[in-house]
C-alpha cells in the first residue's frame, strides 16, 4: 500500500515546541499526531508547600505570552479558597489588565504568527521588507505595543508582571498615569477596525467543522474574568463544576494531556472562535458594527477564520479599555488582606487562547496543598487532531510542500501555546473505547 507522510519536525510561529506527523495509507488518513515534545516543567508538583502569592507569581511562568491569564485565574481561585473579595474598583482594573493582554497576544498572533501563511511569507519580518506590506506590519507592531504598555503600566512589566496579588493589586496606577494612555487606545481602536477590514479581505480555505464550542458567559459582559461555562451543545455550569464535565487523558506522543467531555468523550473547542460564537451579543458597539460591516454570519465554523474572531476581540478590547480608562477611579486600598485558612477554590478565566481553569487546595497556614491547571491548548489538542484528520484529504492532491504548509496553517489557526499545554496534572488514566 502506498504510504505518504507529512512531517513537520518543529512547528514554526507557535509558542513552545511541537511537531506534526500525518500518515496517509492508500488515500486514507491513517494517523495524525500533534507531537508535543516541549519537556514538562512539573509546576503542579513544585508549587506544593509554596505560598498562595507564589501561585500567582509562578504560574505566570508557564507562559510568557499570556502571564496575565495565569495570574487572574490563580488570584480568583485563591480568593475563593480564602473567602475574600477584592475592594471595589479592583474588578474593573483586572478587566483593563486583561484587555491589555488580549490586545498584545491577539495582534501578535494575527500579524506575526498567522498572517504570513495567508500572504505567502515565512515571517512578518519578511513581509515588512515588501514596501506594500510594511505599513501593515508597522501598524500591527504599534497596536501590540499599546497592549503591552497597558499591561506594563498596571503590572510593572509586559512579560511576567508583578502587581497582581491574591486580594487585588500591590499597587493601583493613578488616574493620570492611565489617562495618558487614552490617545493611544483611541488610535488603537481605529487601527483595530482597519486591521479587521484587512482580515476580512483575505481568502480563507473552505473548511467547516461541526464543533462544540465552549466558553465562559457573563450576564452583561463579553467574558474575561467571570462567567459560567456554556457550550453550543447546551452545557451551562458553574466554573467550580469544571471537573464534573471535562476530563483529561495522557497519550504517548505528547507531553501535554488531552481534554474531552466526560459526557460522550468528544473533543471540543475553546478560544476566540468559541467565545465569539457564544457571546456575540456581548461585543462592544464598535466590534458589533465591524462584524456587521464584514457581513459575518455566526456561528463561524471555519478554524482559519479564528483570525477574524481575534480581530473582532481586538476591536472590543481597545474599545472597552478606552471606556475603562475614562471611568477609572484608583481602588483604595488596592487590595484586601488575606487571612490564611484551609480551603479549596476553583476558577476559570478567558485567556487569549481560551478558557483557563485553576483549582487549589490550601492548608490552614495558607500554603498550597494541591494544584490543578487546565490550559486552553490542552483542551484544544484533541480537537486539532480531529480537524487535521478531516483536512488532510482536502490537500493531498497538492504538491508536498504546499500540503505541508496548509496543515501547518491549520495548526497555527488555533494559536496553540505548547509551553502552556505541557506539565499539567491528571490523576487517572482513561482509555478511549476500542484501544
Amino acid at each position: 500500500m502506498v504510504q505518504r507522510r507529512i512531517e513537520v519536525g518543529a512547528l514554526a510561529r507557535v509558542e513552545g515546541e511541537g511537531g506534526l506527523r500525518v500518515v496517509v495509507e492508500g488515500g486514507r488518513v491513517a494517523e495524525v499526531f500533534l507531537d508535543i515534545f516541549e519537556p514538562p516543567r512539573f509546576f503542579e508538583a513544585f508549587l506544593r508547600g509554596r505560598t498562595a502569592q507564589d501561585a500567582v507569581d509562578l504560574t505566570a511562568r508557564i507562559c510568557g505570552i499570556c502571564p496575565v491569564a495565569y495570574q487572574m485565574s490563580a488570584a480568583h481561585a485563591l480568593e475563593k479558597a480564602f473567602g475574600v473579595s477584592p475592594p471595589p474598583g479592583v474588578r474593573a482594573l483586572r478587566r483593563l489588565f486583561y484587555c491589555g493582554e488580549w490586545i498584545e497576544s491577539h495582534v501578535l498572533h494575527m500579524f506575526l504568527l498567522h498572517a504570513p501563511d495567508f500572504l505567502g511569507y515565512d515571517s512578518a519580518i519578511a513581509m515588512a521588507q515588501v514596501p506594500a506590506l510594511r505599513p501593515l506590519v508597522e501598524r500591527a507592531l504599534r497596536m501590540k505595543q499599546v497592549g503591552n504598555r497597558l499591561v506594563a503600566l498596571i503590572g510593572g512589566r509586559e512579560v511576567h508582571p508583578v502587581s497582581a496579588c491574591v486580594g487585588g493589586f500591590f499597587r493601583a496606577p493613578g488616574r493620570a498615569e492611565l489617562a495618558a494612555l487614552a490617545p493611544d487606545l483611541a488610535w488603537g481602536l481605529e487601527a483595530a477596525v482597519e486591521a479587521l477590514r484587512w482580515a476580512g479581505s483575505l481568502s480563507y480555505p473552505a473548511f467547516e467543522t461541526d464543533y462544540e464550542f465552549v466558553a465562559l458567559r457573563h450576564p452583561g459582559e463579553y467574558p474575561m474574568n467571570e462567567g459560567r461555562i456554556v457550550s453550543s451543545g447546551g452545557l451551562d455550569a458553574a466554573v467550580e463544576d469544571y471537573d464534573a464535565h471535562f476530563t483529561e487523558e495522557q497519550v504517548a506522543h505528547s507531553n501535554a494531556l488531552h481534554s474531552r467531555f466526560r459526557r460522550d468523550g468528544q473533543s471540543y473547542l475553546v478560544g476566540p472562535l468559541a467565545r465569539l460564537n457564544l457571546n456575540a451579543d456581548r461585543l462592544s458597539p464598535a466590534a458589533r458594527a465591524a462584524a456587521g460591516e464584514l457581513g459575518l454570519r455566526l456561528p463561524l465554523r471555519n478554524p482559519f477564520m479564528s483570525l477574524l474572531a481575534r480581530g473582532l476581540e481586538t476591536v472590543h478590547a481597545f474599545e472597552e479599555a478606552l471606556a475603562l480608562v475614562e471611568a477609572y477611579e484608583p481602588p483604595d486600598p488596592p487590595r484586601v488582606p488575606v487571612v490564611p485558612r484551609a480551603g479549596a477554590g476553583a476558577h476559570a478565566t478567558e485567556a487569549p487562547r481560551g478558557m483557563l481553569y485553576h483549582r487549589y487546595e490550601v492548608d490552614e497556614a495558607g500554603r498550597i496543598a494541591t494544584v490543578r491547571i487546565v490550559p486552553p491548548t490542552a483542551q484544544n489538542l484533541r480537537r486539532i487532531e480531529d480537524d487535521l484528520r478531516r483536512f488532510v484529504p482536502m490537500v493531498l492532491e497538492a504538491p508536498h510542500d504546499e500540503a505541508t504548509l496548509r496543515c501547518e496553517q491549520l495548526v497555527r489557526s488555533y494559536d496553540p501555546c505548547i509551553s502552556c499545554a505541557t506539565h499539567f496534572l491528571r490523576l487517572q488514566v482513561e482509555r478511549r473505547p476500542g484501544t
Partner: protein
C-alpha cells in the same frame, strides 16, 4: 561586510524571553535590517543552517535530547548568549532539583513511563561553554538591545554587577524593607529590571539572580528579625533563581527540615 547572522533557540521555558525580542516593537524592523535573522522559529518558518555569529538561547536543559541539541547549537555558535533565568540558572523548574524526579512525574502524569527527563534541571553553562549571560525572568528588553548593539559595533556590553537597591534609589522608590518591614531580595539581586517590585510596593523576589558577592546570610538574618521563619527565608531564596549557586547555598542554609538532604 555581510550582516552578522543571528539565531534564537529555545529549551525548557515559557517563551517569554524570546518574546521580549518581538516585544521590541520600535526596534524590531531596524534590528532585522542590521542582522540576518537566520533561525528564530517563534517568528519565522525560514530555518537557515548555521554557523551563526550570535545565538540567543532561552530555557534550561531538562532532557537527554536537549543536552545533545544544545551541544549542536554550541558547535554552530560563534557567540552563545544565555538569555533569562532558565538558561542562566535553570529557572523556576529547577525547584525540582530539591525533590525526587520520579515522585514529580508520578504527581503530574498518570503514565510516568512516557515522560523522560534528566534527574536535575541544568542551566546551559552546566552543559556547554556560555559566552555571555542576560539575566532576568524575563530578560530586560533594554539590556537585550544594548547587548546586541554592543556586539554590532564591537564594544563591550554594559553588564551591571551591582544590586537592585542601586536602581531602586535611582528610581526614587521608597525602600519597602525599611519603610514597611517587607522582606525584599533587592540587596542581593543583580540590577537590570529597573527595581520594578519595590516601585510597585512589594519586595523583590530575585528574578535577576544573585549579584556579585551577595551577602545572603546577613539578608536572611534580617528577614528572620522581621518575623519570618527560617523556612520562609529558605523559600525566598528558592525561587526563580533557586539553583544559582549563592541562592542555592542560602536556601539550603536556612531550610530547617531538609538541610540534611543537601
Amino acid at each position: 561586510m555581510a550582516r552578522p547572522r543571528l539565531a534564537v533557540y529555545k529549551f525548557s521555558s515559557c517563551d517569554g524571553c524570546q518574546l521580549s525580542l518581538l516585544d521590541c516593537e520600535d526596534e524590531l524592523l531596524a534590528l532585522a535590517g542590521a542582522v540576518e535573522i537566520a533561525y528564530f522559529l517563534e517568528a519565522s518558518r525560514q530555518a537557515l543552517p548555521g554557523p551563526y555569529d550570535v545565538v540567543l538561547v532561552e530555557g534550561s536543559v531538562t532532557t537527554e535530547e536537549e543536552v545533545e541539541r544544545l551541544k549542536e547549537v554550541r558547535r554552530q555558535a560563534k557567540l552563545l548568549v544565555a538569555i533569562g533565568a532558565c538558561a542562566t540558572a535553570g529557572g523556576i523548574q529547577a525547584l525540582r532539583n530539591w525533590a525526587d524526579a520520579d515522585a514529580f512525574r508520578r504527581a503530574v502524569y498518570p503514565t510516568p513511563g512516557y515522560i523522560r527527563t534528566l534527574d536535575r534541571v541544568r542551566p546551559l553553562g552546566d552543559v556547554v561553554l556560555v559566552d555571555a549571560e542576560l539575566r532576568g525572568c524575563p530578560i530586560s528588553k533594554r539590556q537585550l538591545l544594548d547587548f546586541l548593539a554592543a556586539v554590532l559595533i564591537g564594544r563591550t556590553p554594559r553588564m551591571p554587577a551591582h544590586s537592585v537597591c542601586t536602581e531602586c534609589k535611582r528610581r526614587g522608590a521608597v525602600c519597602v524593607m525599611v519603610a514597611s518591614g517587607v522582606p525584599c531580595l533587592g540587596p542581593v539581586t543583580q540590577a537590570g529590571c529597573g527595581a520594578i517590585c519595590p516601585a510597585y510596593a512589594r519586595g523583590c523576589y530575585g528574578c535577576f539572580g544573585p549579584m556579585e558577592r551577595p551577602n545572603t546570610g546577613a539578608l536572611g538574618d534580617r528577614f528572620v528579625a522581621l518575623g519570618q521563619s527560617r523556612d520562609e527565608v529558605a523559600r525566598a531564596f528558592r525561587g526563580i533563581n533557586a539553583y544559582a549557586l549563592p541562592f542555592a547555598a542560602a536556601g539550603d542554609r536556612f531550610a530547617r527540615s531538609d538541610i540534611e538532604e543537601g
